[in-house]
Symmetry: C2
Subunit: 349 residues, 2 copies
């Protein structure tokens, strides 16, 4: 079966091209009886309007772009689900671009998005991104942009994030309350706003604690991009002469590496080292030992960001810069930081 154009289809059902087009778009100019006929015949003859011809004429693509660093991370997987749920309900299509945390990739995608390919962009910026010039370009082309999770200061648009500072604070405080005296933050990159905030929160709690008890100490380590390098850095921290008795892992990948490192080095969690991780890992509960997490509302972050984006798409005068949503994460206490071994766990070991 060859593809039908509107012209061929109109001829086949003995109507004019414009009547068909209007009928399918539910125009008030067409009587309902004619509409029904057209819709029925379109179904029967399998006529699907060419979306690009339509996009060209209407200057709407019914498509949004999602630009994010990776999709391997469970956070981003969940966020995509949230975005997709909203897009699907709105009848929009979703293009996915992975920057792999490289600015050049991100810029190339953004530039392409300025061509009219998409009606809006959701972005979680790469680790390398410091300037917002590529985004400004988009904005001046009237393509709305919404940040989710990782935003960029110095660029005014909507953002949906979690309470990173507060959570950094809570994580540190939690470790201290559970008896840690020397806590360390393992962060993935200083450039990222979220890591900076988490670190700032961590520091705030640490300083507060030190002001009350001078025997408490702490440190911050920024891990390299490369997997092996990060692994080595973690090992160094753990084997240091004043190695920490508590660690805050600023990302899921860091937490996994810490677990692997402690296992290799024979450091016992939680006896020798307590761990809290920023993570949405589904398996946190069943890790060895179960992992205390700061769990982000990943799905809702994606969903909310998409909802805001659609508001801007549907109402061009909508001022994105006013929307700054904070969806709180929550601390889920488990064995890795509390040392508590639950009854049923004991039985099973």
């Amino acid at each position: 079966m060859k593809k039908l154009t509107i012209k061929e289809f109109a001829r086949a059902i003995n109507m004019s091209v414009s009547t068909v087009s209007k009928a399918l778009r539910d125009s008030h100019e067409i009587s309902s009886s004619t509409k029904q006929k057209v819709v029925a015949m379109a179904e029967e003859l399998q006529y699907h309007p060419n979306p690009y011809a339509s996009s060209l004429r209407r200057k709407k693509s019914k498509t949004i772009a999602v630009i994010l660093p990776e999709v391997a991370d469970s956070f981003f997987s969940l966020a995509i689900n949230g975005i997709q749920a909203v897009a699907e309900q709105k009848g929009y299509h979703v293009l996915i671009y992975l920057s792999h945390d490289k600015y050049q990739n991100e810029k190339a995608f953004i530039d392409d998005c300025g061509s009219g390919r998409v009606d809006g962009v959701l972005i979680s910026v790469s680790q390398e991104t410091v300037s917002a010039s590529h985004l400004r370009q988009l904005q001046s082309g009237n393509v709305p942009v919404v940040f989710f999770d990782r935003s960029l200061s110095g660029f005014e648009t909507a953002s949906v994030e979690t309470n990173d500072f507060e959570c950094g604070y809570i994580a540190a405080q939690h470790l201290l309350q559970n008896g840690c005296r020397n806590i360390s933050m393992l962060s993935i990159s200083g450039c990222l706003s979220i890591c900076q905030k988490r670190t700032d929160g961590f520091l705030a709690a640490l300083e507060e604690a030190i002001s009350k008890d001078e025997t408490i100490s702490g440190s911050i380590t920024e891990l390299g991009d490369k997997h092996e390098m990060a692994m080595q850095q973690i090992a160094d921290v753990l084997q240091n002469s004043n190695s920490p008795d508590g660690i805050v892992a600023s990302a899921e990948s860091v937490a996994i590496q810490v677990y692997l490192a402690t296992s290799k080095l024979g450091v016992a969690i939680p006896q020798q080292l307590k761990v809290v991780a920023f993570s949405t890992l589904e398996t946190a509960e069943i890790l060895n030992p179960s992992l205390t997490t700061i769990t982000q509302p990943a799905f809702d972050i994606g969903k909310t960001a998409a909802e805001i984006l659609f508001k801007a798409i549907e109402k061009p005068q909508f001022t994105l810069a006013d929307e700054h949503i904070i969806l709180p994460s929550r601390l889920v206490k488990r064995q890795s930081s509390t040392g508590m071994v639950f009854a049923e766990m004991t039985l099973s070991m």
Copy 2:
């Protein structure tokens, strides 16, 4: 800055529209000096050709669709990475659709893909999908389709899968070799070809074992769609009068549920129950206890499927039906099935 059309841009640089178009597409009709000028000015004036006008005329969308059940699963996350890597290198865009394992969703996406929106489709079919009529429609519209991971019998096109039958066999055999006498397969859906094959392999190993030793037994349970229902079914299996001493979990989600259930019920892995799971879980190594997995080459499955799809897109006479790639999974033995507790693990506990 308003969006530039090719007409405006051509006038601005004092050339004809066709010269500009040809220059940007690197036509042999245009001298290299003119090309350079045009490209430089396009960069300077930020002229981006409208992709939809181009698609309309050229009848190419430079876009592929990926239709899959979920992206929460780590298998699909990795597969998307593989697909994206190939697409990006080819200069293609990737539309993602999540069927949530519902046939109706899948069909709606596929129907839309037949409109010329995409040049090709990669699909991992939903659990509910039994008929291939929606795919046939696509095929007759000359949109190439490639299955990855989950395929559909009765529809002739390329597929990239893993050795499911063999792995089902290996998983069962591994449990038996490690002393299990009553093994159970927990499968997510009988309709799925991959689960069927895994189950068939499991059965083959089981029957072979029984023929040598009649005291060996086994069973198969098909879990419901709903999370709570599956959880209850797993609990039932574990509390049954002749509950198994070995379990093969046919999917990542099942493995997680088994771990949670055993923890609740106080069943000790691996002492009372040995577990093998089909999974690409990054955290398998650090679970409590570490999980023996049949690990699929998820990234490569996505990558290979995309490569085959592009062959068909670039060469329409390419016969997809001849391509049936099997990328083997491998058994990664860990504590959950062997009972071995490694030295460093002991230290850390």
